[in-house]
């Protein structure tokens, strides 16, 4: 699919006749990258779909107020980031359980071959990532798997670049420790 610029999408969106068409183009353009992020955060495919739908519904409601000094992609990513954090918080509250139970629930997906195709070391990495606190996991996912720049992550999360660097390095060390422990078991 041909990529549309932010300007083209927004111009189309602001015309009453092409509003839905423009939004359809926007969803098709960004759904892949956003799904990959949401899926790594939420892991369950059905829950990931619900979260991503909410992301785009919020985008639909807020696109009129979108300020063009920001990138559309960063703005959508920020909504997705917030939705994931909210979803995980709700999950924790709804289950009335400890962090360990939530991790267990999140890693259930890794045991189903129809949802996860990684080998043992990939599964071990995902389990290690699941042990990180939600916000740190989001930073690690954006930096390590999605290869976003610190400046981009800063625009998405509203955290300073310095704080992000620290958070990422702590996350890397935690994951390395976890992988080392798994190997020696």
């Amino acid at each position: 699919m041909a990529e549309f610029s932010d300007r083209e999408l927004l111009d189309l969106f602001r015309q009453e006749g092409s509003r839905h068409y423009a939004f359809n183009l926007l969803v098709r353009q960004y759904q892949g990258r956003l799904y990959a992020f949401v899926r790594r955060m939420v892991t369950d495919p059905d829950e990931s779909k619900d979260v991503l739908q909410n992301v785009f519904l919020k985008a639909w409601n807020g696109l009129d107020r979108f300020r063009e000094d920001a990138q559309l992609y960063s703005w959508l990513y920020r909504i997705a980031h917030n939705e994931c954090i909210t979803h995980l918080k709700r999950l924790r509250r709804g289950l009335f359980v400890s962090q360990d139970h939530v991790i267990e629930r999140l890693t259930t997906t890794l045991d189903k071959s129809e949802h996860f195709t990684g080998d043992a070391i990939q599964a071990a990495l995902q389990r290690a990532v699941m042990t990180l606190p939600d916000k740190q996991r989001a930073v690690f996912t954006m930096k390590y798997f999605q290869e976003l720049k610190y400046e981009e992550i800063s625009a998405i999360t509203g955290t300073s670049v310095g704080a992000l660097k620290s958070s990422y390095h702590i996350a890397v060390r935690k994951i390395e420790d976890q992988l080392t422990r798994d190997r020696t078991k």
Binding site: R39, H115, F116, T117, R173, E176, T180
Partner: protein, 150 residues
């Protein structure tokens, strides 16, 4: 994939992690991306776009009718300075009669000095000699008769 300087750092601090390929092992359900945009469209409102009300515009729009009501209320209920004050107990009498009775009641028992003090122009402006002469000439007053009468 480009080899970033951060990757060297990663190999140093996390050798195990850096050896794991960065592939996406999560399976995307079949046809997900083909259906997804359509599913989102299905959840969007189909009604025409409602105008975006900016907060200040909304506040102004709500404040104007309230302000108009307040001004109208004040205008209707304000005290009328031209309306004569009616004395109690005279409602049955006509307005003219009431005014006469009221004035007579008020003026009863007052001395001449007090009456003079109530005059709308208690102190007439003093005229100069020339003005006085002009006035008598204009009114045809005989000055000799005037002096004799005084």
């Amino acid at each position: 994939m480009e080899h970033a300087p951060e990757d060297d750092d990663l190999e140093r601090i996390a050798p195990m992690l850096s050896r794991i390929p960065r592939t996406d092992p999560f399976v995307v359900p079949e046809g997900f991306h083909d259906r997804f945009a359509q599913e989102v469209q299905g959840r969007l409102p189909r009604t025409a776009r409602t105008p975006v009300w900016r907060p200040w515009l909304l506040r102004t729009a709500m404040a104007l009718p309230v302000a108009a009501l307040l001004v109208t209320g004040w205008w209707m209920l304000r005290p009328n300075p031209t309306e004569p004050q009616k004395a109690p107990g005279l409602e049955a009498a006509s307005a003219d009669l009431a005014e006469v009775v009221w004035e007579e009641d008020l003026l009863q028992g007052l001395t001449d000095e007090e009456l003079a003090a109530l005059s709308p122009m208690p102190e007439a402006p003093a005229l100069s000699v020339e003005e006085l002469a002009d006035y008598y000439e204009l009114t045809g007053t005989d000055l000799t008769d005037l002096i004799e009468s005084l």
